[in-house]
C-alpha cells in the first residue's frame, strides 16, 4: 500500500506525519464485543448438539472464537490513519481497501465518545461529522484511539477551522447580516448540571417505564425470588401485616395496603427517573467554543459533541405543566447534524431555568419573545381530530354495552376524557411573528415552544381541507433542515389571509439570505 502514498495530494504532509494505528486496547474492546456476537452463534451450536454430535460443540465454539479474534486483529493491523497538515487520511479494509481523505475544512465537528470499558482502558471513539448528510454508517470514525490523542486531534482540527473562512456555513443560507455570529474569543462555560440539579431533574423525570420491566420480571421470576412478595399486590401487603401482628389493625384499615402499594409504585417511578437522569447527564457541561457549542455528559457512556453554531436551524423549548410552575425548561436545538443514532435534535440544556437558557439562546442569535409579545391563537377547530377519536371511542363503548358487555362503559368514560383533553389543549396552540423569526407554542400537558428563524425555512406548505376551508382557515407547515423528535413544525388552523401574509414574509426573508 505504500505505492498509493505517492498518489496522495498532499505529499509533504504524508512525509512529515507518520501513519498511525488505532490504540492496541481496541483489540480488548473487540474481545468484549465478541460476547454479544456469540449469541448469534448459539443456534448453530445448538443445532450441532441436537444432531447428536456433542463432541464437536466445543471445537466449533473454539474455532469461532479464534476466527473472530484473528479477524479483529487483521482488521486492526490493516487500519491506519494519518493526520496531515490539512487533512486526515484513513485507510481501512481487509481485502477490499478503502482510502479516504477528509480535508479539515470539511469537518464540521469532531465527536468523542467513551463507553464504560473504553473509559477503563483510557481510549475513545472519534467521529468526524462532515455534513455529508444522512447515513451515519458511512461516517468516518476512529474506533478507538487514546483519549489524549483524541483530544489532541480535535484541537488540531479546531485550530485549523479557527483560521479558515467559514465556507460551508454559507451553503445553509443563514442570514449573516441579520445575526452576526462572531466567533467567540475563548471557551466559556455556559451550563452545568450539578448533582443537586440532577436529582431535582430526576424527580421531574418520574417514569413508570421501569415499573413495567420490574412488574414483568416479578411475574416471570415469581417462584425464583428468595422472598414471596409482590409489591404490586395489595394481598401481599396484607400478608406482611399479618406476619407482624398488624392483622387486626389492617383489616380495620384496609386502605393502608393500598397506600403501601401506591408508595412503592411512586418510589420506583421516582428512583428510575433519577437513575436515568444521572446516567445520561452526569457531569453535564455545555461550553461555547470558537465556532460551536460543545456538550460533554454521561456517567457510563461519556459523549462529547460539538454542535456548530451556524448549523443550528431552530430552537425548541420543552417543559411540563408541573415543571413550568417551577420555571424548569429543557432546550433542544435542531441542527443538520443529528445527535447520535437515536436522537434527531440536540439536547443542550436538559433542565434549567429560563434565566439560564437565555444566554445559551443568545449564543445562537435566537431571542425568546418577551412577556409583552402578543400571541395569536389557532382556531379551536383543531380539537376536531381529538373529538372525532372520542366519538369513535364512545360509539365503540356504546355498541359493546348494547351487546351486553358492561366494560363498554370504560370506552365512554375514556371518550369523555379524550374530548375534554383535546378541547382544553386546543386553547394552547398559538403563534407569533417576531423580527426574523416565528415562534410557535403548543400543548398543555407538555408545553413546547418552537423558535424558528425565517432563514431556516426551506419550503412552506399551505394546507386547507374540507373542514378548514368553509371556516376560512389554513394550516402552515414548514420544511426545516434536520429532523426533530418532536414532530414537524406547523401552525394549525389560522385565518387564511394571515397564513398567506406570514408565508410571504418568511419567503421574502429567505430570498435575502
Amino acid at each position: 500500500m505504500t505505492g498509493s502514498l505517492a498518489a496522495l495530494p498532499d505529499d509533504t504532509a504524508a512525509q512529515s506525519a507518520p501513519w498511525q494505528r488505532l490504540h492496541p486496547a481496541t483489540l480488548a474492546l473487540a474481545i468484549v464485543r465478541l460476547g454479544p456476537r456469540t449469541l448469534n452463534f448459539l443456534p448453530a451450536l445448538a443445532a450441532i448438539g441436537i444432531a447428536g454430535k456433542w463432541v464437536y460443540v466445543l471445537p466449533a465454539f473454539g474455532a469461532f472464537l479464534l476466527i473472530s479474534l484473528v479477524t479483529a486483529w487483521i482488521a486492526w493491523a490493516r487500519f491506519r490513519f494519518l493526520v496531515g497538515a490539512n487533512e486526515i487520511v484513513i485507510e481501512s479494509g481487509i481485502l477490499s481497501r478503502q482510502h479516504r481523505t477528509i480535508p479539515f475544512d470539511r469537518i464540521q465537528d469532531v465527536s468523542i465518545e467513551q463507553g464504560l470499558i473504553a473509559r477503563a482502558l483510557g481510549i475513545a471513539k472519534v467521529g468526524f461529522e462532515t455534513g455529508a448528510g444522512g447515513d451515519k454508517k458511512d461516517e468516518a470514525r476512529l474506533d478507538a484511539i487514546g483519549l489524549g490523542a483524541a483530544q489532541a486531534l480535535r484541537s488540531t482540527i479546531r485550530a485549523h477551522r479557527g483560521d479558515a473562512v467559514p465556507a460551508a456555513a454559507a451553503l445553509l443560507g443563514r442570514d449573516d447580516d441579520a445575526k452576526t455570529i462572531a466567533p467567540a474569543a475563548e471557551d466559556r462555560l455556559l451550563f452545568v448540571m450539578p448533582p443537586g440539579r440532577l436529582f431535582i431533574a430526576g424527580l421531574f423525570n418520574f417514569s413508570l417505564a421501569a415499573l413495567a420491566v420490574v412488574a414483568a420480571g416479578m411475574q416471570l421470576f415469581d417462584d425464583l425470588l428468595p422472598f414471596d412478595f409482590n409489591i404490586f399486590n395489595p394481598l401481599d401487603w396484607f400478608d406482611l401485616a399479618e406476619r407482624y401482628g398488624f392483622e387486626q389493625w389492617i383489616v380495620a384499615h384496609r386502605w393502608i395496603a393500598g397506600v403501601g402499594a401506591l408508595l412503592s409504585l411512586l418510589f420506583i417511578g421516582f428512583a428510575s427517573g433519577v437513575l436515568m437522569m444521572v446516567l445520561a447527564n452526569w457531569d453535564f457541561r455545555l461550553t461555547r467554543e470558537p465556532r460551536a457549542l460543545r456538550r460533554t455528559r454521561g456517567l457510563t457512556t461519556r459523549t462529547d459533541v460539538a454542535l456548530p453554531v451556524r448549523r443550528v436551524q431552530a430552537a425548541i423549548l420543552v417543559t411540563g405543566w408541573l415543571k413550568k410552575r417551577f420555571d424548569w425548561h429543557e432546550l433542544r436545538l435542531q441542527s443538520l447534524a443529528s445527535d447520535g443514532e437515536k436522537e434527531k435534535d440536540h439536547q443542550v440544556v436538559p433542565f434549567g431555568h429560563l434565566g439560564e437558557i437565555d444566554p445559551v439562546l443568545a449564543e445562537i442569535a435566537i431571542h425568546r419573545p418577551d412577556a409583552s409579545q402578543p400571541w395569536e391563537h389557532s382556531h379551536r377547530i383543531i380539537a376536531a381530530g381529538g373529538l372525532f377519536g372520542a366519538l369513535c371511542a364512545a360509539a365503540g363503548g356504546a355498541i359493546a354495552m348494547m351487546l351486553g358487555q358492561p366494560l363498554g362503559g370504560l370506552g365512554i368514560a375514556a371518550a369523555a376524557l379524550i374530548a375534554a383533553a383535546s378541547l382544553f389543549s386546543a386553547r394552547f396552540h398559538s403563534w407569533t411573528d417576531l423580527p426574523g423569526m416565528v415562534a410557535i407554542r403548543r400543548g398543555w400537558l407538555k408545553p413546547k415552544t418552537t423558535l424558528l428563524p425565517h432563514a431556516s425555512v426551506q419550503s412552506i406548505d399551505l394546507k386547507t381541507d374540507f373542514i378548514l376551508r368553509p371556516l376560512g382557515l389554513a394550516t402552515l407547515v414548514f420544511g426545516v433542515p434536520g429532523g426533530s423528535s418532536l414532530g414537524s413544525h406547523e401552525i394549525p388552523a389560522i385565518p387564511l389571509a394571515a397564513a398567506q401574509a406570514l408565508r410571504e414574509r418568511i419567503l421574502a426573508a429567505g430570498a435575502r439570505a
Binding site: Q458, S459, K463, F466, F478, L496, A511
Partner: protein
C-alpha cells in the same frame, strides 16, 4: 394570491376557477390520460379479484351473490372515467419570482412554495405512460425533512426541461 378565496367560495366542481382564483397555471390536459391509465392498471386487478371472490366464496356461502362484483366494477368505472380528469385539473403550479409553487388536491389541498435558492437538486423524470403522452414530472429536493421532495407531474417534456434550467440557474447564482 392576494384575493381572499374564503370570501367568495369557489365552485368546487370548476377546477379551472380554483386555479385561476389562486393565480396558478394548470398542468397539461394530457396528464388526465396518464392518471386514467394508471388508475386502469390499479383498479382492474382489484375489480377482477373482487369478482373472483364473489364467484368462488360469496356464492358458496349463500351470501348476496353479485353485490360485491357490481360495487367493485362501479367503483373501478368511476375511478377510471370520472376522477382522473378532475384530479388532473386540481394540480396547479406557478413558476416565477424566484420560487416554485405547487398546489394539489381539493378535499385536502396542499399548496407548497419552494424558493429556488433552497433547492438542493432537481430531477426530471418520465415514466412509460408519461412518455407515451410526451409528459415529464419535475422533482425538487430541499434539505428540509418535511417536504424534502416536491413533485410536480403533468408537464410537457420541453417545459419540464426549461423549468429545470431556470431553477438550476438560480442554484448556481446563489452558490457562486
Amino acid at each position: 394570491m392576494t384575493d381572499t378565496v374564503a370570501a367568495r367560495p369557489v365552485d368546487p366542481f370548476d377546477a379551472h376557477a380554483l386555479n385561476a382564483a389562486q393565480g396558478l397555471d394548470p398542468v397539461d390536459p394530457a396528464f388526465r390520460h396518464v392518471l386514467r391509465i394508471s388508475a386502469l392498471f390499479n383498479m382492474l386487478p382489484i375489480a377482477i379479484g373482487a369478482t373472483l371472490l364473489d364467484m368462488f366464496v360469496v356464492r358458496e356461502m349463500d351470501g348476496p351473490y353479485g353485490l360485491l362484483s357490481v360495487l367493485a366494477w362501479l367503483l373501478a368505472l368511476l375511478a377510471i372515467t370520472a376522477f382522473p380528469a378532475r384530479r388532473a385539473q386540481r394540480w396547479g403550479f406557478k413558476i416565477g419570482e424566484g420560487q416554485l409553487r405547487v398546489a394539489r388536491g381539493w378535499l385536502f389541498r396542499t399548496d407548497t412554495i419552494v424558493p429556488f435558492v433552497r433547492v438542493q437538486h432537481i430531477d426530471v423524470g418520465q415514466g412509460p405512460i408519461e412518455r407515451w403522452f410526451g409528459l415529464s414530472h419535475l422533482v425538487v429536493h430541499t434539505s428540509g425533512t418535511h417536504n424534502s421532495t416536491v413533485t410536480l407531474p403533468g408537464l410537457r417534456a420541453d417545459l419540464a426541461a426549461a423549468m429545470r434550467e431556470e431553477i438550476r440557474r438560480h442554484i448556481q447564482t446563489d452558490f457562486a
